[in-house]
């Protein structure tokens, strides 16, 4: 299928991030101009009709989220844009903000107008300082040109956009933890309900939206909800950014319709162009490290929220991590549990303690010091985390263990039987290999 990129069409052009380029090439701020002639509720209806689903991971309909934002209240309302992009394997917002920041700014302004907010905070992860500089320069350009600030384009609508820099915390990507961090506290999730739409930032109604989600809004307003919905399969419309990393020839961010299959994304000429160095394909994590693994037999699944869910995984943040046949699955689970153990915010005991236990068990098996009963223990600990924490982090932390055990239990058993890692690859740490550890 011929697909024309709309989110990333110009990102490789020189100075794509400037207002000049955005206005000249991409009909920049025409969406905002049009939105300001509509009633706020009409914009929400359009976004609902388009079927836009949140691009951060959960795939929740954005129009509904906006509709839930409490309207009858004297309190101010806010948009908190989630630019914390920390899900392993995900780097799409990175590209959007670095190369097309005005699209996000326009999306923030339209979003504010739609829900009745006057301020949008873009919560960007602390590691993206180089991105933040582009974004802040773009915001300044937008203020000077009258697309932000007081009485935007003579409409009487005021809107401010501020960038708020995080300082290194995966958990800040969870919407209530993001709000806590915006309030100047540790990024730890809140008990829900109340949901942010009712009591979010400073206990005021707040819509928390991912960068890519907000970037789609100007396109919907400009081209209409029907255009948007027609770009993909039913209920999975619109352009989608796929982040492909791992053992592929050409890793990168690719824009495609959600009709595109995983196989096309991995092997297609216009996408990642297949596996590196003549190795075979082993497995893929299709939606960032928190989702279950899929195998070769699943690759003809279209990469949409619904299709991938039916295949037994999740599209999540569309971070496709592709692995070749040199990857030891016990090592993989251990690598990811190191991540979850480190990033657990510590609020809920099952996740804080369980993640650490899982890591230690996996380390033991990977070193060749495991016992067969450790496999049952892995299940036991995992099942005591899943569904027993305030946010989805707990489920995410147990997923690498449960999914590797589901598909590759034989590798765990081989490690235990032979007392060593049965698949040591040359790209892994040398010293640990020699010592038989890690």
């Amino acid at each position: 299928m011929d697909y024309q990129p709309v989110l990333t069409q110009f990102v490789r052009e020189p100075r794509a991030y400037t207002l000049d380029s955005y206005v000249k090439n991409a009909r920049g701020y025409e969406g905002l101009r049009k939105a300001l002639t509509l009633k706020p509720n009409d914009i929400i209806e359009q976004v609902k009709a388009s079927g836009l689903r949140g691009r951060g991971g959960a795939g929740f309909p954005t129009g509904l989220k906006w509709q839930f934002v409490l309207k009858d209240t004297p309190k101010p309302k806010y948009i908190a844009c989630n630019a914390d992009e920390s899900e392993p394997g995900t780097f799409k917002d990175h590209v959007l903000m670095e190369r097309n920041p005005h699209l996000l700014i326009e999306g923030c302004a339209i979003g504010c107008y739609a829900i009745g907010a006057k301020i949008a905070y873009i919560y960007i992860r602390g590691e993206f300082l180089h991105v933040q500089k582009h974004l802040e320069a773009a915001i300044e350009e937008a203020y000077r040109a009258g697309y932000l600030g007081k009485n935007i384009l003579g409409s009487g609508f005021d809107c401010d956009v501020y960038v708020h820099r995080g300082a290194g915390a995966y958990e800040a990507g969870e919407e209530t933890a993001l709000i806590e961090s915006l309030e100047g506290k540790r990024a730890q999730p809140r008990i829900k309900p109340p949901f942010p739409a009712v009591a979010g930032l400073y206990q005021c109604p707040t819509a928390v939206n991912n960068v890519e989600t907000l970037c789609n809004v100007p396109l919907i307003v400009l081209n209409g909800p029907e255009w948007f919905a027609a770009l993909g399969p039913e209920k999975n419309g619109g352009p989608k950014l796929f982040c492909i990393s791992g053992h592929v020839k050409r890793p990168g961010v690719y824009e495609a319709s959600m009709q595109t299959t995983l196989r096309e994304l991995i092997f297609g000429d216009q996408y990642a162009q297949g596996m590196q160095d003549g190795h075979g394909f082993k497995a893929i994590i299709p939606g960032g490290s928190s989702v279950p693994i899929l195998l070769d037999e699943h690759l003809d699944t279209p990469a949409s929220f619904d299709h991938i869910q039916k295949a037994g995984s999740l599209l999540g943040s569309a971070g496709l991590i592709v692995m070749n046949d040199t990857v030891c699955m016990v090592w993989l689970a251990m690598n990811l549990l190191h991540f979850y153990r480190h990033e657990s915010c510590g609020k809920c005991t099952p996740c804080r303690e369980g993640g650490d236990w899982l890591y230690k068990l996996l380390q033991r098996i990977e070193r060749g010091e495991g016992q067969m009963k450790d496999i049952d223990l892995l299940f036991g600990v995992s099942n005591n985390i899943v569904g027993k924490t305030l946010c989805a982090f707990g489920d995410a932390a147990a997923t690498p263990v449960l999914t590797t055990l589901k598909w590759f239990r034989n590798e765990f058993e081989a490690h235990i039987r032979e007392g060593r890692c049965t698949l040591p690859a040359d790209w892994r740490a040398r010293q640990a290999m020699l010592a038989g550890a890690h």
């Binding site: 490789r12 590691e127 501020y162 290194g168 100047g184 506290k185 990393s245």
Partner: protein, 203 residues
């Protein structure tokens, strides 16, 4: 005494916390420029929500003196109008704040899956061997600190290193580590690849 018949009460190994309070250090005050930046940042938030500016305030401290000392936490608490404990609560949570001095270049090696698949573990090993340090340590000359970090959000450029918080080195190969460190020492940020999408040369 123990409430469990087979468990010794408070075994020393289990209960000993490794956590240490930050050294108080010298008295701290923002430079006039940083004070102005702080005062401007406060205006981004409602007047009664000054605490929202805490991360920004702490970055200013870190840029000014290289790390965040006990005295500077008290200073930030006064600026914001909260307790020093609330500031420490935040400092101790976020990984990008240092409570001890670090080297001139902090080498943040991404260790998460996508980077690990393409040799990040080898990069850490090579840097460690070349500098004679382990992750978390600073070399004797105070030039480099080696840190293993979790996903940096640039997985297509794996393996990725973030140098301090503004330099990026993409697709570093283990065999190039020695040359890379010498080059970084000699030429600073100019030695880095920067971002691969950056098609224009910034002056």
């Amino acid at each position: 005494m123990s409430f469990h018949p087979q468990m010794e009460y408070a075994p020393a190994k289990f209960h000993k916390s490794e956590r240490k309070l930050a050294e108080p250090g010298n008295e701290f005050k923002y430079t006039p420029e940083n004070q102005a930046l702080f005062d401007e940042n406060v205006t981004h938030y409602p007047a009664e929500e000054r605490k929202s500016t805490i991360l920004f305030a702490l970055y200013l401290v870190q840029y000014q003196q290289g790390h965040i000392s006990g005295a500077s936490m008290r200073f930030v608490a006064q600026q914001i109008g909260c307790t020093a404990a609330e500031v420490e609560d935040v400092v101790s949570y976020y990984t990008m704040f240092y409570t001890k001095p670090v080297g001139k270049y902090v080498l943040n090696v991404c260790r998460t899956l996508s980077c690990a698949l393409l040799g990040a573990e080898r990069i850490t090993e090579e840097i460690g061997a070349k500098l004679g340090i382990k992750p978390g340590e600073t070399d004797p000359t105070g030039t480099f600190t080696l840190v293993e970090v979790e996903c940096l959000g640039a997985c297509d450029r794996a393996p990725v290193l973030m140098i301090n918080d503004e330099g990026w080195q993409e697709r570093l190969r283990p065999e190039d580590v020695g040359r890379f460190l010498d080059d970084l020492k000699a030429r600073g940020y100019a030695a880095l690849t920067g971002c691969h999408l950056q098609v224009e040369k910034e002056s």
